[in-house]
C-alpha cells in the first residue's frame, strides 16, 4: 500500500511539472477553449448589454443597447440603457437623437451630445427614464448610459 502511494505521489508530481511545461505553449489554445464556455461572457453591467437597434445616420451609426436590469437573482428595479455612436468620417459637433428603447413607436427620451465640450442633455419623455450616469468619448465615437427605472 505504501509503495502504491509513493508511486502515485511521484506520478502526480511529474504530471504537475508537465502542466507547467505545456501551460505556456498551450495558453492560446486553453484560453480559447475556456472562452467558449457559456459563462465566459462579460456581464451586461460592464459590456453595456447587447445591441438591439441600429440606426444609420448621415455622419454616424447609432446603436441602442438592450436595457440592463441585472441583479444576482432576478432583476433589479433600477438599471440603465447604453447608447453608442460610431463616427463614419468625422466627429459631428452636435448629436441629437430621439430614442425609443421599448419600441412602442413613441420616443422615450431625446439625447443631445455636444461633442466639442462633452456636455450631454437628456430630455425624458417617459417617466422611467432618469438621469445620465456615465458617458465617454471613445476612439471612434461616443458612449452614454442613462439610468432607467423598471
Amino acid at each position: 500500500m505504501k509503495k502504491i502511494a509513493t508511486i502515485c505521489g511521484y506520478i502526480w508530481a511529474v504530471l504537475c511539472l508537465l502542466i507547467v511545461l505545456i501551460m505556456f505553449p498551450g495558453l492560446g489554445f486553453f484560453s480559447k477553449q475556456l472562452a467558449s464556455l457559456p459563462f465566459m461572457k462579460i456581464n451586461p453591467i460592464y459590456s453595456g448589454g447587447d445591441v438591439e437597434q441600429i440606426k444609420e445616420c448621415k455622419n454616424y451609426t447609432l446603436q441602442i443597447h438592450k436595457p440592463v436590469f441585472e441583479a444576482l437573482i432576478g432583476e433589479s428595479s433600477e438599471g440603465f440603457i447604453q447608447i453608442s455612436w460610431i463616427w463614419k468620417d468625422s466627429l459631428p459637433g452636435i448629436l441629437n437623437d430621439s430614442i425609443d428603447y421599448n419600441t412602442d413607436g413613441k420616443p422615450d427620451f431625446i439625447i443631445t451630445v455636444y461633442t466639442t465640450n462633452g456636455d450631454i442633455q437628456i430630455n425624458p419623455l417617459n417617466e422611467k427614464v432618469k438621469a445620465l450616469i456615465a458617458s465617454a468619448q471613445t476612439e471612434n465615437g461616443w458612449i452614454a448610459r442613462i439610468k432607467l427605472k423598471k
Partner: protein, 391 residues
C-alpha cells in the same frame, strides 16, 4: 528548547557542480526556447542584450538553487525583481498608451481593463448566479484577458498549489522584498490568528461582490493599484478610493512588512492568497518536518513570513495549509529537519527528488512567466539610458 546541532546529509546535489549542471540542463534549454520564442534572432543589439542578461540571470538563480541546496534567497531574487519589472513595464505601457497611470471612463465603458488573478475571488459567485463575468475587461482579446488569466491561475494552482504566491504572483514580490529590508523584526510574536484574516477578507469580498455585482476589492481595497493602474480622480469617490489604496500599499506592503519581517499583505490580507491556500489540498507538494531531527528550536516559526508554522504544526510535523512553499524555513532550520515532500511518499527523509521536482516546477513557472517582462523591462531601461525615452 533543545539547541544541540546534528550533522545530517545535505541534498545529493549540494556542492556537486557537474551533477547540479546536469539537473540545470533542461532548464537551460527550456528557458532558451521560451525567451527566444523558439526563433532565435540576434539581429537587434538591444533585444540581444536583454535576452542574454535575462537568460543568464534566470539560469544562474536556478543553478544556485540546485548547487547550494538553498531555495529561498535565489527564488526571492527572481520573484521580487519580477514584481518590480512588471510594474515598470506596466506603468511605462500605460504612460505610452494612456499618458498616465489612470484609466478613463472610456476604458471602463469599452471593457478595456486588464484582468488580474485577484479578481477571481470576486467573480465566482456571480458566475454561478448570472452566468457571466462581473469585470470590465475582455474575455479573449487585448492585454491580460479574463480567460488567459483564469487558465494561468488554474493551471499554476494545480501544479504548485499555494506555491503560486511565492513563485508566480507578480504582486507578491513587493511585500516579500520589503519584509527582507531589516535584519531583525521590530515587531515580534505576531499572533498566528492573523493567518485567518485573509479568509475573512475573502468571504467579505466574495459576498459584497456578489451582492453588488461589482469587483469590490478592486474598487476599494487593492493596494497594488499603486504600482499598476487606477481610476482617474474625477470625483470625491475616486479621491477616497485613491487615498485608500495608497494607504494600504504604504501600510500593508511597505511599513508593516519592514517592521515585522512578515509578508503582511500576502499572509494576512490578500483574498487570493486565501483562495489559493485551498489548492494546497490537491497539489502533491508540501513541506514537512522530520520529528526525529527537529529540536524544537522554533527558528522556522520565527522565519516563516506568512505564519504557516506554530508549535502545534511543528508538533504534527506539518506546515499549516496556508504554506506558500517559499523554502525559507527549510533553509533556516539548523537541523535540516524541514524538507519539500511529495504526498504519499515517506516523510522523514531529506528527499532530493521531491525537492528537485518542486523547485524545477516552481522556478520554471517563474522563469517563463517573468522572462518576457524582464526582457521588456531591460529594453526600456536601455532605451531610456540611450535615447531618453522608454520606447
Amino acid at each position: 528548547m533543545k539547541s544541540d546541532k546534528v550533522k545530517l546529509p545535505p541534498y545529493t546535489t549540494a556542492g556537486k557542480f557537474w551533477k547540479s549542471l546536469l539537473i540545470c540542463l533542461p532548464m537551460i534549454f527550456i528557458t532558451f526556447f521560451f525567451l527566444t520564442g523558439g526563433e532565435p534572432d540576434f539581429s537587434d543589439t538591444t533585444n540581444s542584450i536583454a535576452f542574454i542578461l535575462v537568460f543568464l540571470f534566470l539560469n544562474f538563480l536556478f543553478f544556485k538553487i540546485i548547487y547550494t541546496g538553498k531555495t529561498d534567497k535565489f527564488r526571492a531574487t527572481g520573484f521580487i525583481l519580477f514584481a518590480v519589472f512588471l510594474s515598470l513595464v506596466f506603468i511605462t505601457n500605460m504612460v505610452e498608451t494612456r499618458e498616465g497611470m489612470s484609466f478613463s471612463s472610456a476604458d471602463l465603458l469599452e471593457c478595456n481593463i486588464p484582468f488580474c488573478h485577484i479578481v477571481i475571488t470576486m467573480i465566482l459567485i456571480p458566475i454561478v448566479f448570472t452566468n457571466s463575468i462581473i469585470f470590465p475587461g475582455s474575455i479573449l482579446d487585448g492585454f491580460a484577458p479574463v480567460s488567459t488569466m483564469l487558465i494561468l491561475w488554474i493551471l499554476a494552482s494545480i501544479a504548485l498549489g499555494k506555491g503560486f504566491c511565492s513563485w508566480g504572483c507578480f504582486y507578491g514580490g513587493w511585500d516579500d522584498g520589503f519584509s527582507r529590508i531589516r535584519k531583525k523584526p521590530l515587531v515580534k510574536n505576531i499572533n498566528t490568528i492573523f493567518r485567518w484574516f485573509p479568509f475573512a477578507v475573502l468571504l467579505l469580498v466574495a459576498l459584497s461582490a456578489a451582492m453588488t455585482l461589482t469587483p469590490t476589492y478592486c474598487e476599494w481595497a487593492c493596494p497594488f493599484k499603486t504600482v499598476t493602474e487606477f481610476e482617474a480622480v474625477t470625483s470625491t469617490e475616486t479621491l477616497i478610493k485613491t487615498i485608500i489604496f495608497l494607504l494600504l500599499f504604504l501600510g500593508l506592503v511597505i511599513v508593516l512588512p519592514i517592521l515585522t519581517k512578515k509578508r503582511i499583505q500576502c499572509g494576512m490580507f490578500c483574498p487570493m492568497g486565501a483562495l489559493t491556500s485551498f489548492t494546497n489540498k490537491v497539489n502533491p507538494f508540501d513541506v514537512r518536518i522530520d520529528k526525529e531531527k527537529c529540536k524544537d528550536c522554533g527558528i522556522c516559526e520565527i522565519k516563516c513570513p506568512i505564519l504557516s508554522l506554530d508549535p502545534t504544526s511543528i508538533e504534527k510535523g506539518k506546515t499549516h495549509f496556508v504554506c506558500s512553499k517559499c523554502g525559507k524555513c527549510i533553509d533556516a532550520c539548523p537541523n535540516q529537519a524541514i524538507h519539500y515532500h511529495i504526498k504519499g511518499t515517506p516523510v522523514n527523509k531529506r528527499n532530493t527528488t521531491a525537492r528537485t521536482l518542486f523547485v524545477f516546477s516552481g522556478f520554471l513557472f517563474l522563469a517563463i512567466f517573468s522572462g518576457g517582462t524582464f526582457q521588456m523591462g531591460i529594453i526600456r531601461i536601455i532605451n531610456i539610458l540611450t535615447t531618453g525615452s522608454f520606447f
